[in-house]
Amino acid sequence: MSDATRIAENARRADIRNRWWLTAPALFILFVAAIGPLLVVLLYSFMLKGDFGDVKYGQFSLDGWFSVFFERDIFDDTVGIAEAHVSILWRSVKLSLITTLLTLFIGFPTAYYISIQEPRRRDLLVFMVTIPFWTNILIRTFAMQEVVRNEGVINTLLVWSGIVDRPIQIMYTDWAIFFGMVYVYLPLMVLPLYASMEKIDFRLVEAGYDLYAGRFQVLRRVIIPLVKPGIVAGSILVFIPSLGAYVTPRVLGGGKNLMLGNLIDLQFGQGKNWPLGSALSITLLVIVTVALLFYVRNASKSGGGHGH
């Protein structure tokens, strides 16, 4: 082996070593803060439940996983699909989908409006979008109560303007939940959308018009394909936390119907069934991951090729 190749080889090794050293802190944090606790949850889901919460350490059991999907009817002892869990899961998915669509419909024009302003005004508007993040989500949700209550802002306005003669019940209904969810997650949709739109070369839009495209066609054939990465990113950022949403449905929805997050909370709290709670958490995680993979793959498949 010549000196030159040896030196090159050594340099390459040193380079690899350095990279490992440099990524070590990140890997360490990832393991300790993310993967480690998840492993604990995974382990708990395979243990026997303790009598009053906790688990019986080292006692393996599939009961937790069994009860995620199946239930033994407590009255006639027949085993069937855990219908309650399925309907709670479906409610959470439905809520997340609707929230994602609503934030997209409101967020898209908002982001577009911001992106066509002159730069200084643009910065100010983006800054204003982030203002809600300065306050804790719980406080914002309780503030929302004041808006939707029977004597809250909306109802006072409606009654004052004569549209209705008595307050309408919004608080503790699904409307209140949607209202709260859209409010809480809207910035997460607007910001990535804006990031994509900001990069649009508006000469392309002009070119579209020059080629006799209508407004709708320009939107559909030019703008939407260009901001697709923003739409995907925004939707993911809204959909995933919505799926596990806990505070908003609890505070605004009146807690009559469980969401997935509340069901998990019930198992760790009053239900005293930690293995089932752990198994439900992992199930949620798997669903999110699968949805994410599916979504990202689809998005990249149809997203490429346009505008290049």
């Binding site: 919460g53 407590i74 503790y172 009559k256 760790f268 009053q270 005293k272």
Partner: protein, 344 residues
């Protein structure tokens, strides 16, 4: 400027943990949120030159899980009586023998021998209360001393009813209403209770812990609730009344215990003796709005709590109350299933 300076100094000293420079020791209390009278704590701090710090929890399950995990640094915890057998059997509590303390003589006789701690070797009552219904009588003037208000409500209240989503309490109420025995795993009884819950749910507006605001403002017209909470509501809105369900209800009490891992056992003992003093017990009640179990505290109670109808038990409830108990694990599992079914 002067106040600002003083505030700054106070802030810094708080940060350095030297708030009471003369402190001869510390006491760490782990209690339910918004449940510890600041005046009571201040009085204790000044009397014994002890620095007290308080940490909040929001449920018995949270408290148990945290203390069980260990290393909390807490000296005193205040779990509900029905959870106490678990705490004792898992060896979390010190057998501090409060029954031999000086002020123990003040304890009401009916609280000396609870089923969860006979003879009081481990615990003394903090505050106690009953579970019942709150009704806005401006909108419904009928009989309110019944669980019927929640489970088979009159038309005036339908759609404006809340039930506090405390699983055990709600199922207890439903079982008592249908003539069952609490903590029973009897399928017939459970089925009746479940059917009542399922049939009543469409009439409910919400299942919320936070009842004060909506009750007072009339968004909510009836709710299951604890007596002290209803007292607070009535003081703001005089139309609200507390109903004692004649089908039966339970008496709960939160109990003060010293943890085995406590570092300041002597201070903790001082504190337990301290709160059994009538004047101090009244301070505690005045803050949380629940009754205490100390004889002679009545004269020290605030005016609006003296003889408050919510705090006692009317004659027709004699023999219709039980001390709240924790159900066995297999029964809890059945209850969780019913509860999930109701809330799916």
């Amino acid at each position: 400027m002067k106040t600002m300076l003083r505030a700054a100094v106070a802030g810094v000293s708080l940060l350095l943990g030297v708030g009471t420079a003369l402190a001869e020791g510390e006491l760490q209390i782990y209690n339910w949120g918004n449940y510890t009278s600041p005046e009571l704590v201040k009085k204790f701090e000044e009397k014994y030159k002890v620095k007290v710090s308080i940490t909040d929890y929001d449920s018995n399950d949270t408290a148990l899980a945290k203390v069980r995990a260990g290393g909390t640094g807490f000296d005193i915890a205040i779990p509900s009586g029905n959870f106490l057998p678990v705490w004792i059997s898992e060896g979390l509590i010190l057998e501090a023998r409060p029954d031999q303390m000086e002020n123990f003589k003040n304890l009401r006789e009916d609280f000396v021998n609870p089923p969860f701690d006979p003879g009081r070797h481990y615990s003394v009552p903090w505050l106690w209360g009953t579970y019942g219904v709150a009704v806005n009588t401006k909108h419904y003037s009928g009989d309110i001393d019944t669980w019927k208000v929640i489970f088979d409500p009159p038309d005036e209240l339908k759609g404006k009813i809340n039930i506090v989503p405390e699983m055990g309490d709600a199922i207890y109420a439903a079982m008592t209403y249908t003539g069952g025995t609490y903590c029973s795993g009897d399928k017939e009884m459970l089925k009746k209770a479940r059917d009542v819950l399922l049939a009543a749910k469409p009439h409910w507006m919400s299942m919320e812990y936070a009842t004060q605001e909506p009750m007072v403002k009339g968004d909510m017209l009836a709710t299951s609730d604890w007596n002290g909470s209803v007292l607070r509501q009535r003081l703001v809105n005089p139309d609200i009344r507390y109903g004692f369900p004649r089908e039966g209800t339970f008496i709960w009490q939160d109990t003060v215990v010293i943890l085995k891992e406590a570092k300041n056992v002597e201070n903790a003992k001082l504190f337990i003796n301290f709160i059994m003093d009538p004047e101090n017990a009244a301070m505690n009640s005045a803050f949380a709005r629940y009754a205490n179990a100390i004889n002679g505290s009545e004269p020290f109670m605030p005016e609006d709590m003296k003889g408050a109808p919510e705090l006692g038990l009317p004659d027709f409830m004699k023999g219709k109350t039980i001390f709240s108990v924790a159900c066995p694990p297999d029964v809890v599992e059945l209850y969780t299933k019913i509860w999930t079914d109701v809330m799916k």
